[in-house]
Symmetry: C4
Subunit: 277 residues, 4 copies
């Protein structure tokens, strides 16, 4: 991954996933709050399950492609782990990245299983997502030996987004369907994606001017820059959320809502999907 | 901000906000426990919402003023980020402080949105407040390179108050309306405000006697001093709380309370505002 | 406190408090589970409140005595903070210890207020206890500069017990009356007390043989020794708990229990005192 | 324990315990969800209690054997703590390992007590398990002084599994019977067991080729390898879980289920055993 493309690719992946999540969770939250006719709700339930299955399948297949690319692309270790003739490990970086993909593949496979069969408890998908984020951060943590100061710093900043995502996913095991946690995870995923791009631009700038990787004022600027990425991620998620809410509102205005005998307080129902899913 | 005024200004801001919070939360808690007539309660609800909107607008406007001051005041970068002639970043300190204000502006805007529209979940304001505190602490954390020992130490002590405030705000997302968490956040905010003043006095003393920034016994004294600030903050919040409770009690004695069919246990009702707001 | 007595005194204090807590919480848990006649329960409630008030008053007075002793005992600073003639701080160690006592005094005063008036929310006493433990640990944390390796190590081990106690007290704000948290806090308090004695024996041994404060095998032994203290604390709390349970059981066998219409599951009722207090 | 056998033995112990746990918790979860006739449920309850007692007795006896082996096996300290003639501690490593076994013995004894008598609250067994894991990790943490880089690294990686297990056990005090936490703890225990074997192979390889304990690329490979162990542990637990679920499903198909008046939502009942145990 020691190239601009090597950082742009996972960055794009996380950006796409995060935007998809922002739309998905906003949509579900908006439809849950509107509580249209129960027929509609049942339809939603099947649709939800279907979307989850597609999401799981997509993550699983992308991860498998990623693993294969790391192994068999030009310069990959081609499943050889140790070079016995020259006594050194084969391309440990590629093996490391393949391992990261492996955990996301496990997470995708779990999402598939949870939503197609009745076997497993529902919250298992979030647990495996948390483990996948954790393993990614864990491998990055021991990845930084002997690099330049700024190189280490940009990767350390990345770790905040990764471990933050792992923590929020783990909390979702206990607070499943809490829209705030879902959107916070989405924000951190978006931050991770855009920061991957930023790392690419810092370490492998397309222009000829290189960054001084030992300059302390560069480090200070990068820290401020990370906060701007976070602010942009927050604003992006907010804009997507509002757009989805407005669209749902205008669409549902045309359908007259069913009468309901018992209305629960607004917040409660809005923040849990257990009753729906 | 490398001046006495630069520390006194945010200090005063946090002191005012914290005292306002102490009064506000005590008032709501006292009125909730008294449970006067439901007409009165409805009135309270509208007043609450109105106060929240004013608070959000105040924080938003102060933050925008702060951002503009950091950019356009004497010596500010005037929105220029990089000096291409001399190849260095423009006034990174000002950019850093403007970024801190930016996150408080986002938090204020969120409070405004949450309490004027029906769009967003209620706890979003606490989440954004937590993120604002976190970003402030995060920027301070990477702000201390190459300074004197005592300078680093006073800022590190500040971080306890900031990250403590971020943590408590995040816990309020799940325990909204818990009076203890609200008052603890208030205390930490008060501590932060008074500590900003203390930092000003230590680093830029108005008298001629300067502090020895390398002396270890000064560091030990400052640590003890921080605990006294914490104790003073606790006592201040307690005094404000008791004053508000007494005033409410004497005022409500004149109004005869309505009969209520079902009385829930005291603690439960007292520690959640979900049913009121 | 740089003496054997200076460590033995707080050690004894924590040992006494912890044993008192072990008896108190076991007693309440046992009587709650037995659910004798409601008249008896009401009596218990008044007794509980009375015991809490006595406990608060005892902690408050001991803390005030401690503060006065630190200030006015032989060699104390006698409320003078700075020596202007020789330009150094007066007896910072004594000021530090007086500050620790100050926070326990605040905690005791809060317990008194919470249980004598109706003003404050019940869980406030645990919050202030958590803050008192935290402040104690915080001051110890910045207390260790320039000491010998073993001296630093024994105080660091003490910090585990102190911060553990602070954390458990803070959790009790949300899980008030959970017998397991109460006994765990008791265990950590007992550990703290016995470890203070151990520190006294290590740093100021009564025999003539001194410990080598730079020897690494001493450090390893001390770590193992700390675990034995923890095991002893666990066993002590278990023995006290079982004794109290047995005594209550034999006493209550003589009184015929009242009939009860609705019996809730065993665990639930046993682990919360909200309904009782 | 400075030998291959010394790491293989505890490794095997943890592997066996973890597989037993995986089967046990899957079995209970599957039977809980199936909700066969209430007579069958009562039978299950007695069986569960019986299995717990056996488990507690097994852990207790293995731990006592371990303690005795550490003390009286060839080269053990034979209960002597200090060698007064040569002025050094006797075999601190053995004392350390015996202390670890001591805490697991306490945990086993607690499980026995909790499930044979009515004295103690149910969640006490998880609390003592958490303390046992914590003490194990705590002793390992101060065990690494002056070793080679790779030696320190493999033990640090072990600490993740140990402290992770302690944290999950502590969370189970509050979320008892949550299948996800139980399986996660099982996974971490399995990881710990297989990693003990791996440490044995790295530090005391059976072949003649030794590992270079100072080589950084070995450290990187070991980190990746740790993630593979985690992935294998996850897959093993998943396979055991699915096998048990399939077996239960085919067995219960033959017994017609009883009619039930009130069916609660699937997730809720499935994730708590409070009502069963």
């Amino acid at each position: 991954m020691g190239s601009f493309q090597g950082h742009a690719l996972p960055g794009s992946f996380f950006l796409i996933v995060a935007q998809w999540w922002a739309v998905k969770y906003s949509l579900w939250y908006a439809t849950r709050r509107k509580k249209s006719a129960s027929a509609g709700r049942l339809a939603t339930r099947t649709t939800q399950r279907c979307l989850e299955v597609i999401e799981g399948a997509a993550i699983l297949s992308f991860s498998i492609i990623g693993m294969l690319a790391e192994q068999f692309a030009a310069g990959g270790p081609k499943l050889r782990l140790y070079d016995y003739t020259e006594h050194h490990w084969e391309q440990l970086n590629n093996w490391q990245h393949a391992t990261m993909y492996l955990f996301f593949a496990l997470s995708g496979a779990t999402t598939l299983t949870v939503h197609t069969t009745e076997f497993a408890p529902l919250a298992l998908d979030r647990l495996l997502l948390a483990i996948a984020f954790f393993a990614e951060g864990f491998l990055f943590l021991y990845h930084l030996y002997g690099r330049d100061m700024l190189d280490v710093h940009v990767h350390q900043l990345l770790l905040y987004a990764i471990f933050g995502g792992a923590l929020i996913s783990f909390m979702e095991v206990f607070h499943r369907g809490n829209i705030l946690l879902e959107l916070l995870r989405t924000t951190l995923c978006l931050l991770q994606g855009s920061w991957f791009w930023q790392i690419g631009f810092v370490l492998y700038p397309p222009s000829e001017v290189k960054w001084d990787l030992q300059d302390h004022s560069n480090k200070m600027f990068i820290t401020v820059c990370y906060c701007w990425h976070l602010a942009c991620a927050l604003v992006t998620v907010a804009v997507l959320y509002c757009t989805v809410c407005c669209v749902i509102r205008t669409k549902l205005k045309r359908i007259p809502p069913m009468e309901m005998g018992l209305l629960k307080p607004r917040e409660r129902e809005g923040e849990s999907e257990d009753e729906v899913l």
